[in-house]
């Protein structure tokens, strides 16, 4: 037996005959996996729980997903086509990514299934070492491809979501809001890069023109850090707004940013700054000639 096995390895066999025998072995393998479906599936679900993977899901959910993954897995082994599995992996990722399932968990469960199945093969064929070798020869490449497909599908889905979110953030990032006749507010949140700064300035200038704004409050409470580039962009925005006849008040400079700006020596003397957004709006109202009073002070006393 052993010598025969060695021969099979050293002399490259006829490829067609080999693929036929691989197909036969895979058929046998699939039959074995179908036969022991319930038991292997349960074993797999148990190992997933023990390894503390997919903690975001309940045990029933894990078992249900495990069943579908198992069936798709066996089907991919049987047919040798991965389209169905790919589609399933994408669908699965779509469902579990919002629930906070991580890449290592998905790769982990697929590798666990691979391990569970391999062990069952060892248990079945441990007496026939040569047969076991040939079965593993047929099983391993297919199993590796399946693991690959699922992991790649998951990562692709994640990247797609990240891209989508980035676009959404970019679109949402610069709302110019009118809070009073001729008074605009531009709250800036997050990181300002040159591209965004440019977009921001263009949007603000257009809004000043369409709303006929006289005063603009730029609130940078949500800006975590600022370097000289960003500060210069801000100065440019202020100056461009002034050319359109609008006064800009910058509010919400954090202590850290104030220190950085003074330390790196950015000249902000041309810029009107007020501590917080409330103060900025009050200052803007003053410039526009508004005075906000509580109602009691307006109604004549009886």
């Amino acid at each position: 037996m052993a010598t025969k096995g060695k021969d099979a390895q050293s002399v490259p066999p006829d490829p067609q005959a080999q693929s036929e025998s691989t197909a036969a072995l895979l058929r046998e393998l699939v039959a074995h996996l179908r036969q022991n479906r319930t038991q292997l599936r349960e074993e797999w679900a148990r190992r997933i729980t023990r390894a503390q993977l997919l903690t975001a899901m309940t045990e029933e959910e894990i078992f249900a997903e495990a069943t579908s993954v198992y069936d798709n897995y066996v089907e991919a082994l049987e047919t040798g086509t991965f389209e169905a599995l790919q589609a399933y992996a994408r669908n699965l990722s779509e469902r579990i990514i919002p629930r906070g399932v991580e890449t290592h968990e998905v790769v982990g469960i697929v590798l666990l299934l691979r391990d569970v199945l391999a062990r069952s093969l060892f248990a079945k064929y441990h007496e026939d070492f040569d047969k076991l070798n040939r079965i593993l020869d047929a099983y391993e490449p297919a199993a590796n491809r399946i693991a690959n497909t699922v992991a790649v599908g998951f990562v692709q889905e994640r990247e797609r979501i990240i891209r989508q979110q980035q676009e959404a953030i970019r679109e949402l990032s610069t709302p110019v809001l009118q809070v009073r006749e001729r008074l605009l507010i531009l709250p800036i949140i997050g990181v300002i890069d040159p591209q965004r700064a440019r977009q921001l300035t263009e949007q603000l200038l257009r809004a000043i023109r369409t709303n006929r704004a006289k005063v603009v409050v730029i609130d940078i409470t949500g800006v975590a850090a600022m370097d000289s580039n960003v500060a210069n962009h801000l100065v440019q925005t202020v100056e461009a707004s002034r050319l359109l006849g609008a006064t800009v008040i910058v509010t919400g400079l954090s202590p850290e940013i104030a220190q950085t700006l003074v330390t790196i020596g950015v000249d902000l003397s041309e810029m009107a700054t007020v501590g917080d957004l409330q103060g900025g709006i009050e200052e803007a109202e003053r410039l526009l000639g508004y005075k906000v009073l509580p109602l009691e002070e307006l109604t004549p006393k009886a």
Binding site: T201, E202, L205, R206, I208, R209, R212, K214, Q236, T237, E239, A240, S241, R242, L243, L244, G245, A246
Partner: protein
Amino acid sequence: MEVPILKQGHYLIASIQSALTDADLSQLREALIERVGRFRARGVIVDVTALDVMDSFAVRTLRDIAHMARLRGAETVIVGIQPEVAFAMVQLGLTLKGVSTALDLEEGLLFLDHQAQLRIERGTGRIDRG
């Protein structure tokens, strides 16, 4: 092309209608400064709404007009700078420092009225005899 200069009350309004050569700009400057004295104008408005490009010479001339008119007793305000022009100007560092600006002609007139009011309150303005 010569820029028409209109007299409106105490103000002079120069409305630029098309792209100007350097010579046109110099001519505008001279005409404005001369007329500030002739009409005893208190304010000058230069409307640049029609300009979609503003080079350094144009910006310098506008700044000169403002400073010269102030020496002759008139406040100058530049109105109607387009958003794109404003953005290009600050990127080139042409920021019209020390020159007043307003969104459009209407705003410019309001601004000059307001300035005149302030001067009267401070007691430094000429008294309007009607």
